[in-house]
Each structure stands twice: as C-alpha cells, then as structure tokens.
Symmetry: C2
Subunit: 332 residues, 2 copies
C-alpha cells in the first residue's frame, strides 16, 4: 500500500506542479510583460524550488510577505481604510456630539480631509482606531463586511475589493503553486483586512499581520466575547513590520514585497537572512491606468526605499512598463 | 492532461486520507483505550469532515488549539521552561552580581525554588522573561536549542522533548490527516516553544501562540536584528488565551484542548461559537505513569474547569483510564 500510495502521490505532485514543470506551456504571470522584473521573480522561484538547485529551500521555509496598501490593492487618493473610518465617523456622529469640536473628528466631519490627516500615519491610525472601538470583534467583522458591499471608490466607482492588482493576484497564486506560504504584513488594521483577504487574495485570517487595537475577554449575557478597546496595541509599520513578522510568523521571510518606505525594514530584514532572498518594490509609475507617485507623496511615500533598492540591487517593478494589466476589470 | 491529473489526484487523496477511508483497518489513535473520550473525539472528527454530514465544517474553519504545558508535554515537578530559566540564571549569574540579593533570583540561585515561585504565574513569567532578555531573537533560538540537547528531566532523566504525550501526538496527526490546522496556545514563552514544536509536534512556528516579551528592530553592524527587551508584551493565559487566539489566528477554534483552569477561557470561547464544537480537558489521574493532580495543585491547577466541564458536558480525559501509553518511550 505504501509503495502504491507513494507512486501515485509522486505522479500527482509532478502533474500538479505545473508552475515548474509546465512553465513553457502555461504562463503563470500573464498580466506581467516579459520584463526584467518578471524574469527575476520566475528565476528566483525556480531556483528555490528545483530540488537539484544549490539554492533549494525546503517548503516550510518558503515564507512570502506582502504589504497591502499600494501593493496588493490601491491606496489613492488615500488609504481605503480611511474612507471606511470617515463613513463610520459620519454614521456614529450623532452618538458622539463631542466629535464636533474634537480634532481630528471635527475636520473629518467638516470634510476637511487634509487637516484631519496632517499628523501622518500615527494620527491616521488614531482616527481609525478611535472610530473602530467599543464593539465586539464579531460585530466589527459584520460592519466591515457590510461596508465593503456598498462602498465605492471615489474615482473609479468600483467596490474597493476590485481595486486589487491583477498581476499581484497572479503572483500570489504562482508562489502558492510553488508551495510558498503567503502572508500580508500591512500597516492597516488586522481586523479590517481579515474579513475579506481569504476571498479576495486567498490569504486566510491566520496569515494576516497588521496594526491592532487591544481587545478584552468578557462575558456578555453569559457568552464570552472579545471587546475592542480604544487603545492601540501594535503599529505594524516601518520598524514594526519585522517585529510583527517575528511575532506572528516566527520565521524570516525569503520573499518580501512592498511599495513604500514603510516597507523598508521588512525588506531589509528579509534581505539579511542566509541563502536566496527576493526583495520587491512596486513603483507607482502609471498615471494613466493607476497613479504615479513616489518620493514626494504623503501617501505611500517611496524615497529612501528607492535609493536602497538601487544600491542593493533589489527588484523594482515599474508598473507602467512591467504590467500589461493593472486591475481585474481590465482582464478580457 | 487535466482529466489525467484529476484522476491521479483523486486517487492519491483517497489513498492519503487513510484516517477517514481506512478508519476500520487502521486505528489512528492506538495509544488511546477504547473509552468514551476516544469515541467522542472520533465521532466529532467524523461528523465535521463527512461531506454529507449536517455538521460538516469547511477545511478553512477546522482550527484546533492545544495548550502545551501539562497537555502536550508534562509540567511536573514544575514547568519545563522554569528549569530552562534556572539553568540560564545560573549560567549568567557571574555577569549579574545584583542577582545575589535581588528576588526572585536570589532564591533561585540559592536553590529555594518554592520561595522564588511563590508569586504565581505572573511572577514566574517575570523570572523567565528577565533571564531571557538582552540577546537577539536568533541568539535566543540557539540558546534554547542547545539547552534542549543537553538538559534532562530531573525525575525521568529523559530529554524534555521526550516528555511529550504519545496519545496527544497521535491526536495531532489524526486531526491534521482530517485537514485540521493545529495550533499551540500556551502560557509558555512563544520563542521558547518555536525552535522545537515543528520537529516534535509537527506544528510550525507560525502556528504557535504564547506569552511574549517585546522585541525591537535595530541595526547591529549594518545588519538588522530583533533585540529581546526585558519587558512583558503579552501573557497568554486565562483571559489572555482568547485574545491571543484572536490576534494570531483571527478565527474561533472548533476544537480546543487544555488541562488547567488557565485554559478555561479558551474552552469557553471555543464552546461559544456556532455549530459543532469539541472541548477537551486532560485530567492528570495517573500517579504511577505520570503525575496525579488537579484542584489543589500549584502547577496546572484544574478546579473550576472540572466543574464547568461536568456542567457543560465537555470531554474529560482520564489519563490513567483512557491512555494505554503515556510517553513515546513506552511504545513497543
């Protein structure tokens, strides 16, 4: 039985691993132009998965981490979670008369977004967290899911979950077909992402790392619930990303993908391990199909990261040049 | 090609899933006597995995959480991590002259364990954390691994990683063969467990939840490292267990296994979900092959949990009655 099982298993694995075996006949990254970026990615994946390769990496160590905002889905004209926060603040404003005079809520409610966001990511997260607390974790999941069903992007009028990048969906699939475990490591709220990452990206909740507020176990009418407290627990950005990776994954990634200076430490941490490594920066160069921004942007600023990438020889994806398709809606 | 692939795949899956298909011919839990506990476990697993069952649970939601100390490995005559801490304190004592007068180190170094441990788990964790900080995460992993190679249990003289429970190893395998994802959720240190849980339990680092100290990203000679700080980050015990589960897994388990009052909230949280649930308590009743302790024990106290289990009809494993084998060394 054992020999028979092993024979069929081997045969199936061979037939299943079309990413490697049938690379010639099926392009696993059809929305990527045949650029240096695509070639680098495929050469890396082949080198760590071919059992006769000197760079072979065992399956358990094939950890790939992806930033979310501006990397798996868009982040312009501002972080999508902020649109959620604004809608939520508006919905709750009647219950919170104090917000009319208290910043940054006063500015938010007055429609003065720039004033409300002036304090950068820390202040942004403060707004987000403050508008996200008080309910149980289950209630919050429902609130996020319902918002995603009805909310539309202000420019494209599409649901936010359709503002994801088709080439990155293909990259996630390609890595998983080659036995990588794919994780999100985002500055965004962990509980804002988990309700939809499995459906949209194929990434289950236990593989999502993000910023968090504290939760507390309590009994509500004899039933245990987790209450979301208005207190920041962890900010998963910049130096926080390697800390979040270590806390949640406990292993150094061999592949990391980001698009801003907030991802630099994650890429540095990934680069510092032994053996083969791949560090990817997505450069937003496509003003026509998406947005073009980098060193001067207040959202998704990519400045120091571009310099380090050039110095270290990391792969920089030029969105305009390297992607034949940006959003799934463009796929024929 | 696709049909051929599907045929072999189906055949392989059939041959691989011996837990379900060959349940009659192969006992997946050979170290369990044919008791009510074993029958309950197998009936539960069958009910959630049979596709025609009204209790069927999709693979993604088959989350099982296990306490570690006293549940997957022994915890007597005291928590094994404490033996590690004592050995570590002794090894570092020369560098820390202040420990000679500072409690609980003074008591530890004087061999007065009871005095050092008088403060309960919080104080125990404080001792552990204080003796575990200062180095990088990579250095700590080496320290733990080297200790496990040489340290021996004071009573059995076996390596600590052989003080694991054979029936629980079988249960972990059985659940995974039925597409459960198995997690550790322990009051012990997350970084104390991760270096060996994959080898010993088949549980990878990213599926280990535990207590933690803070870490900080820093550059050491131009290389990014994570430094372990002498500051408690999270205590994964009692009310902390559902919080840790939510933070790391983001999904409510459908199966939870513990052995002490420290696991009660995890079991309550698991029980409170919709659909089929299994809550397991391991009752240490075997003074001959292991240890017998429950309501009065200072380590692994099981008092309120026994009452709740009886009231709610949870499964209580009677170690002496239900297990034909306790430790792997007893397997013929």
């Amino acid at each position: 039985m054992s020999m028979l099982r092993n024979f069929f298993l081997s045969l199936s694995l061979l037939l299943l691993s079309n990413g490697a075996v049938f690379a010639d006949s099926t392009d696993p990254l059809p929305s990527w132009n045949d650029s240096q970026s695509k070639q680098s990615i495929m050469a890396f994946v082949e080198s760590v998965t071919r059992s006769d390769s000197s760079d072979f990496v065992p399956v358990a160590e094939r950890i790939a981490t992806f930033d979310n905002d501006g990397n798996l889905w868009a982040e312009q004209p501002m972080y999508f979670q902020l649109f959620f926060a604004i809608d939520r603040v508006k919905a709750l404003a009647e219950e919170h008369p104090e917000w009319r005079t208290e910043e940054p809520f006063a500015s938010l409610l007055a429609g003065k977004l720039e004033a409300a966001l002036a304090g950068g990511l820390e202040s942004v997260l403060k707004i987000v967290m403050a508008s996200h607390a008080g309910m149980t974790t289950e209630e919050f999941e429902v609130i996020v899911s319902e918002w995603l069903e009805t909310a539309r992007h202000p420019v494209t009028k599409r649901p936010y979950t359709e503002m994801v990048y088709q080439p990155m969906l293909e990259l996630l699939d390609y890595l998983r077909a080659n036995d990588f475990k794919t994780f999100i490591v985002s500055g965004g709220g962990i509980e804002f992402m988990r309700p939809w990452t499995e459906r949209v990206y194929g990434i289950p909740p236990e593989q999502v790392v993000g910023s968090s507020i504290k939760t507390e176990f309590e009994m509500e009418d004899g039933r245990p619930v987790l209450r979301r407290l208005a207190e920041i627990d962890f900010i998963d950005d910049k130096e926080g990303k390697p800390v979040g990776i270590h806390s949640h994954i406990g292993r150094r990634p061999i592949f990391a993908s980001g698009n801003s200076d907030g991802d630099l430490q994650m890429l540095q941490y990934t680069a510092a391990g032994d053996g083969p490594r791949m560090m990817l920066y997505l450069h937003h160069t496509d003003a026509e199909r998406e947005w073009a921004y980098d060193r001067e942007s207040s959202i998704g600023k990519l400045d120091k990261g571009l310099d380090v990438a050039a110095e270290k020889g990391w792969t920089v994806i030029d969105m305009a040049q390297d992607w034949s398709t940006v959003f799934p809606a463009e796929v024929k």
